[in-house]
């Protein structure tokens, strides 16, 4: 068995205490929630923090609720679903999120994505905050120390060459989380708490195109909350490409969300693709194609083709990049058909 490096484990009871510990201990401290990403990475020697600051006692970061609108009932919805946004604590487990009635109702793509992360045991431990902050992944990076030594290491850790591009000075490790594509499609807003207070950041602005470190979260910051606006007429869907029906990280991750007007035409539509490069890609030009339509087959086809032209997977994952690219329009088409209400597309995943 691989050994976990030794570390000091801190269990603060409040967010303020946790932030204090992080600030006080400096870069040698790393926050940990479910640990499903960090622990294997530590066993691989990718991180060797002297201190782990556990967030699991911070109750303020737990729970999911519908908020805003003061419980005004709309469209005959039950009270527990009525509101203007979903507020999700960053410690909410992926299993709870996937099963939450309000999330399934208002942000189905987010619930689907959460329910497709890894396998059941990992979803019981893994949190939405951890999934959003998941480290990027690469065939040359997520390996043991011995393996990386035999390789000669890589740009992301201990080396100076990217074995994927072989020329670049830029790390192209793949953003491999499921939920961010769905959160971006839903215009989610993330709250980061730091020593000098909290700040809000659109999920779409949270990621940067750098495989070594692909988020704007500072070392001393903690992702505390995810807010998803509740928009009448919004529908969404998530699709995940993977070879097994469980456990695997996405080979391609795709979320779509559209706001439908009263006449069932599209007011606005978003597509987000990930597991290609270091950050999720918000597809451009979709509104120009689909706004005002009812997602007729030729519109779906045009959107899917538009998606394909914007996606160029790399060999950062061990599965055929050309095939992964060819799957972009297929998965876009399937997700869009689900939005358009085609019953044959029910159920996410391959």
């Amino acid at each position: 068995m691989l050994r976990l490096p030794s570390f000091r484990y801190h269990r603060p009871a409040t967010l303020d205490e946790a932030l204090e510990r992080l600030a006080g201990l400096g870069p040698e401290a790393v926050p940990i929630a479910g640990g499903t990403d960090l622990m294997p990475n530590m066993k691989h020697g990718l991180f060797t923090p002297a201190h782990l600051v556990s967030l699991n006692r911070v109750d303020a970061m737990k729970g999911t609720r519908v908020a805003g609108g003061d419980g005004v009932k709309g469209n005959g919805r039950p009270a527990e679903l009525a509101g203007t946004f979903l507020e999700i604590g960053a410690l909410e487990t992926l299993a709870d999120l996937a099963a939450h009635p309000a999330v399934r109702f208002h942000a189905p793509a987010v619930a689907q994505a959460a329910g497709l992360v890894a396998g059941p045991q990992l979803r019981n431990m893994g949190t939405i905050g951890g999934n959003v902050c998941l480290d990027t992944r690469c065939t040359y990076y997520n390996q043991t120390k011995f393996w990386r030594h035999a390789l000669g290491y890589c740009l992301k850790k201990d080396g100076d060459v990217c074995h994927v591009t072989r020329v670049g000075r830029k790390c192209v490790a793949a953003h491999s989380a499921d939920t961010p594509a769905a959160l971006i499609a839903h215009d989610a807003v993330l709250t980061l708490a730091g020593p000098s207070g909290a700040r809000d950041l659109a999920a779409a602005d949270f990621f940067v195109p750098d495989g070594i470190r692909n988020t704007r979260r500072g070392d001393d910051e903690i992702l505390t909350r995810v807010r998803i606006p509740i928009v009448p007429g919004r529908r969404s869907a998530y699709r995940k490409l993977r070879q097994r029906s469980s456990i695997d990280f996405p080979l391609l991750s795709l979320a779509v969300a559209a706001d439908f007007a009263e006449d069932a035409s599209v007011a606005t539509i978003r597509g987000v693709v990930s597991a290609l490069g270091a950050r999720p890609r918000l597809l451009s030009g979709w509104d120009a194609i689909a706004a005002g339509t009812r997602l007729e087959p030729d519109v779906v086809e045009a959107l899917a083709d538009r998606a394909r032209r914007q996606c160029r997977p790399l060999d950062n994952i061990i599965v055929d990049a050309e095939w992964r690219r060819a799957m972009v329009p297929v998965y876009a088409r399937r997700a869009l058909r689900e939005l358009a209400g085609d019953p044959s597309t029910a159920g996410a995943g391959a």
Binding site: M1, L2, R3, S6, G119, T139, Y140, N142, Q143, T144, F146, W147, H149, A150, L151, G152, C154, H163, L241, Q243, R244, S245, S246, I247, D248, F249, D315, I318, V319, D320, E322, W323, A326, M327, V330, A350
Partner: protein, 814 residues
């Protein structure tokens, strides 16, 4: 995808087939235990977590070892300096290859390994030095302090390039002057007139196939503990499936009197052929214990399990198959290159098996094969479930499907027409006795509703069939000797408890249970009065190990012999008491009973006591040795000879998503002739497990390595269970086991093997089903979504939509 495991009993045909055959046993009484579904004797302990595997054992004062591994695929070791490691606090001992210079190999003719490399390393992961320290972290830290200087050598990763190398430095020293040190073995054999056979053929199919390497992925990593004691005795606990061979090699390599070596095999958490020879850690724990005087444990990481490997060889195959217009085979010609990796392992046998095991269940008038095993700078390949014959079986059963297609003959009918029969000899002179292959075909044809499905399902959905045969052990042991292949010893207590001392290796397949069933059947002892004490060379007779599907047949016969000796004593003593004939004494249900006299009986305990009073301490031994006169009369003709052969047929039903290339296997019907199912639940379990493993290799598994363009040539692509993908329960198809019982004349109660044979047809049945579904031939494994997608793209510019039609050049009329 959804997983539906219907398991044994769900509407399958096993029960009628089994019951129909049961009365056939000539003159024997009805069976009370054999043939009935029963628990495994170790099932509860394993299911409840109470079984103690090797890593669960902790001895007082135990040290932990780690092995330093080579980061180079092929390099000369210039120097090793261990002084800094030895100076580290907490380190108790360091050994290198020079401490154990005697070479070994599981096959006595190819001893090309050392416990730790002596002069050079041959793959990334080859062991170079080992450390024993107070804990694992210290041992790991010590590895970083061992300084090794390497001089890199030319590397070979492609077997064809390795074979073609005109001169050294080779991967190994040539065994004879003028030979290549990159070749383990070449086998060329020809039976009948192959060229004339092709002249007689009306159609010939000639195609190339590639079987990618796969590995065993046992859930328990290899683990061993060594304990050297002051009196010179060395004990090794190991997760092995061959305690006897390990015993021999430990004694030889460590230069210890074999009478002072003891091997203990605790419960093993999966092996599948991956633990059937000695490994570096077993020698290292023993040597480090001898050096430090303390017990030493080494547990492999998952990554090390991938480097230890000994999995299925990648095979590059070309098959030429001729048939007459009515589908009768006329000739078969095969050329095979085996990619062996860095060491020989069982490779000499694998090279023979690649050709020898193809000659049933179909009649071949003429057959030729030419197989060459190359060394390459990758982890060594060896035996994995269905050793050496799964790869050719894939190619050959697809060949048959092509011939059936060319001739417009139903593929099941084509197989039926070529059936070799029972009590016959194959073209390469293997003796076949019982043979239930026709019933296997009939069962899968019926259960799958084949006639309404084949070539009749909507586009994207299809069915495929394949057949196979496998050995029930080998007639000749790995090292030549005249002694029995299996032995067993029974001992009876005055309480009525019977102890079975078994040298065989329980690796999950149920051998400990099997011997208990035999004893229960013969002596009438309740199962909970039987203790199976196994896997300890100090107190069990020799059994050669859990490999080549030999154990039920061989140990079962040995156990039957011992139990019947004991039974005769008990019958004799009770008969004397009752003034009856011994054969009138029946032992059943915990009682001794008098035939035809329901009023006379006594508890078995009393019967045993009478026998002990009459004969003295009660015990019996039994042994089994193979027939030595049934094999081919040519060099190599002993390899492939088995006392009995099992037969299997599968039908697979698949759905292909033509947009993505995903293949969903909805169901596999598995019909297997196991001779007699001693416990039908365990037989069905072996059939399902085999079909699952074949399905996994068909769709997902790839034991592959990076190229120079991918960072580092020879570096394992993904040595983890995250990226080396084996199917989850959600991916697994519904599996229906259809047990066929041919009642073998020499097997125990007529039993033959069931652990490996049922794997073979999975892969070609799925390949043939994909063809039925979308008209595309998958001749290279695995049939992963990207490969199927590419094949569909290539077939018709991505616009496949029609059914079936052989691609140009796929076969030709003569």
């Amino acid at each position: 995808m959804t997983g539906r495991n219907e398991g044994f009993g769900a509407g399958n045909g096993a029960a009628p087939a089994a019951n129909g055959r049961r009365d056939v046993t000539s003159g024997a009484s009805p069976l009370n235990t054999i043939g009935r579904p029963m628990r495994k004797v170790d099932g509860l302990a394993k299911a409840t977590g109470r079984a103690r595997y090797t890593d669960d054992i902790a001895l007082p004062g135990m040290l932990h070892g780690k092995i330093l591994r080579s980061p180079h695929p092929h390099a000369r070791i210039v120097s090793i300096d261990t002084s800094r490691a030895e100076a580290l606090e907490g380190v108790h001992g360091v050994v290198t290859g020079r401490d154990m210079p005697t070479p070994y190999g599981i096959i006595p003719w190819t001893p090309d390994e050392h416990p730790l490399c002596v002069d050079k390393v041959r793959y990334i992961g080859d062991g170079v030095a080992a450390v024993a320290a107070v804990d694992e972290d210290t041992a790991i830290a010590a590895l970083d302090l061992i300084d090794v200087a390497y001089e890199e050598l030319p590397e070979y990763f492609d077997p064809h390039e390795a074979i073609a190398a005109p001169s050294g430095p080779y991967i190994h020293e040539p065994r004879k002057p003028g030979w290549s040190g990159n070749v383990t073995k070449v086998v060329k054999l020809e039976f009948g007139d192959v060229d004339a056979g092709f002249d007689e053929a009306d159609v010939i199919a000639e195609h190339d196939y590639f079987f990618e390497g796969t590995t065993h992925t046992p859930i328990e990593p290899h683990c061993a503990i060594g304990l050297a004691e002051g009196d010179g005795k060395v004990t090794v606990w190991s997760a092995t499936q061959v305690p006897h061979y390990l015993h021999r090699e430990l004694a030889r390599v460590l230069e210890v009197d074999p009478a002072k070596v003891r091997v203990i095999q605790p419960p093993v958490g999966g092996a599948f052929g991956g633990k059937s020879e000695p490994f570096d850690l077993e020698f290292c724990v023993a040597k480090l214990s001898m050096l430090t005087g303390r017990p030493v444990k080494i547990l492999y990481t998952r990554e090390e399990v991938f480097y230890a490997h000994r999995g299925r060889h990648p095979f590059h195959m070309r098959y030429r198959t001729g048939a007459t217009s009515d589908g009768m085979l006329t000739s078969v010609d095969a050329r095979i290159v085996l990619d062996g990796g860095a060491y020989a392992s069982f490779g000499l046998v694998t090279t023979y098996y690649s050709g020898q095991l193809l000659t049933a269940p179909y009649q071949m008038p003429a057959y030729r094969f030419h197989s060459t095993r190359a060394y390459t700078n990758k982890p060594a390949c060896g035996p994995k479930r269905g050793h050496g014959s799964v790869q050719p079986r894939f190619a050959f059963e697809v060949q048959l499907d092509r011939i059936a297609e060319l001739l417009e003959i139903d593929p099941i009918e084509l197989r039926r027409r070529n059936f070799i029969g029972a009590n016959t000899r194959t073209v390469n002179e293997l003796r076949v006795t019982s043979n239930g292959f026709l019933e296997c075909l009939a069962e899968v044809e019926r259960a799958s509703d084949w006639k309404r499905k084949h070539r009749r399902l909507p586009f994207g959905r299809g069915v495929g069939v394949a057949g196979s045969t496998y050995i029930s052990g080998t007639n000749y042991p790995i090292y030549p000797n005249e002694m029995p292949q299996s032995g067993i010893q029974l001992q009876v207590d005055r309480s009525g408890r019977v102890a079975i001392f078994s040298g065989a290796s329980e690796i999950g397949q149920g051998v400990d249970s099997m011997v208990a069933y035999v004893v229960a059947e013969e002596l009438g002892v309740p199962l909970d009065h039987i203790r199976v004490l196994a896997g300890d060379t100090d107190f069990t007779p020799v059994d050669l190990g859990a490999y080549s599907s030999r154990v039920t047949f061989m140990l079962g016969n040995a156990c039957l012999q011992a139990a019947r000796k004991l039974k005769a004593m008990v019958q004799g003593a009770v008969a004397e008491e009752w003034e009856a004939k011994p054969r009138e004494v029946l032992l059943a249900g915990g009682m001794a009973l008098r035939a035809g006299d329901t009023g006379t009986g006594m508890p078995l305990r009393e019967a045993f006591n009478l026998a002990e009073a009459k004969f003295g301490t009660l015990g019996a031994t039994g042994s089994y040795n193979t027939p030595k006169d049934v094999h081919g009369s040519y060099r190599g003709g002993t390899i492939g000879a088995s006392p009995a052969y099992s037969f299997t047929a599968h039908v697979a039903e698949v759905e292909v998503d033509t947009e993505t290339g995903f293949v969903t296997v909805d169901k596999i019907w598995i019909a297997h002739d196991c001779g007699r199912a001693l416990n039908p639940v365990l037989v069905a379990g072996q059939m399902e497990g085999s079909a699952y493993m074949g399905f996994a290799e068909a769709l997902m598994e790839e034991h592959i390595f990076k190229s120079a363009d991918e960072g580092r040539a020879g570096l394992h692509n993904a040595p983890s269970l995250l990226d080396y993908r084996i199917p989850t329960s959600l991916d697994t198809p519904a599996l229906e086991s259809l047990i066929v019982e041919s009642i073998d004349p020499e097997g125990p109660y007529g039993a033959k093997e069931a652990g490996e044979g049922p794997l073979h047809p999975s892969i070609p049945a799925i390949a043939n089903a994909i063809y039925d579904a979308v008209g595309v031939r998958m001749d290279s494994l695995p049939f992963s979504p990207p490969r199927v997608w590419r094949a569909l793209q290539a077939a018709d510019g991505g616009k496949v939509s029609g059914r079936i039609g052989e691609a140009v050049g796929a076969g030709h009329a003569v």
